[in-house]
Symmetry: C2
Amino acid sequence: MSAHRFAVNVLPKDGILDPQGRAVEGSLGHLGVAGVSGVRVGRRVELTVEAGSEAEARAIVEQLAAELFSNPLIESFAIESMPAVGAGR
Amino acid sequence: MSAHRFAVNVLPKDGILDPQGRAVEGSLGHLGVAGVSGVRVGRRVELTVEAGSEAEARAIVEQLAAELFSNPLIESFAIESMPAVGAGR
């Protein structure tokens, strides 16, 4: 068994309304910031998975990303491998 | 002027209670998933900044990350460069 650290980035799909992104763009004037566009706001989940191999660990992360971390109707996700953690190795 | 795309990852600082992370860990049993630990849930903001240089654009992103996207008392942020966008170049 080895421990693998992953990050899952969950963002609104293209074309889906992103109210938080619009809110950020609306705040920029108050901060005196210009030149910012295309703001998308989503979630990031970082987790450690103990499994027999990196591929097995990644399969668990894909299941969680699709079933627990994202709403597949309106969000898409991407999985990143992160630098290894000390625990469990 | 050129357009630069960045992502800002905002996560609870180490040692700060992360109720969403605990909630995820509590759900794993229901999904029949074992071996997952160290779950941290945060935000990810992606944005495009039009500026004279990448360094100038990054300075704007750092300002926004510190003042708008994160609560520096309880959250830390990391900035990523993303593949360039077509607009403005």
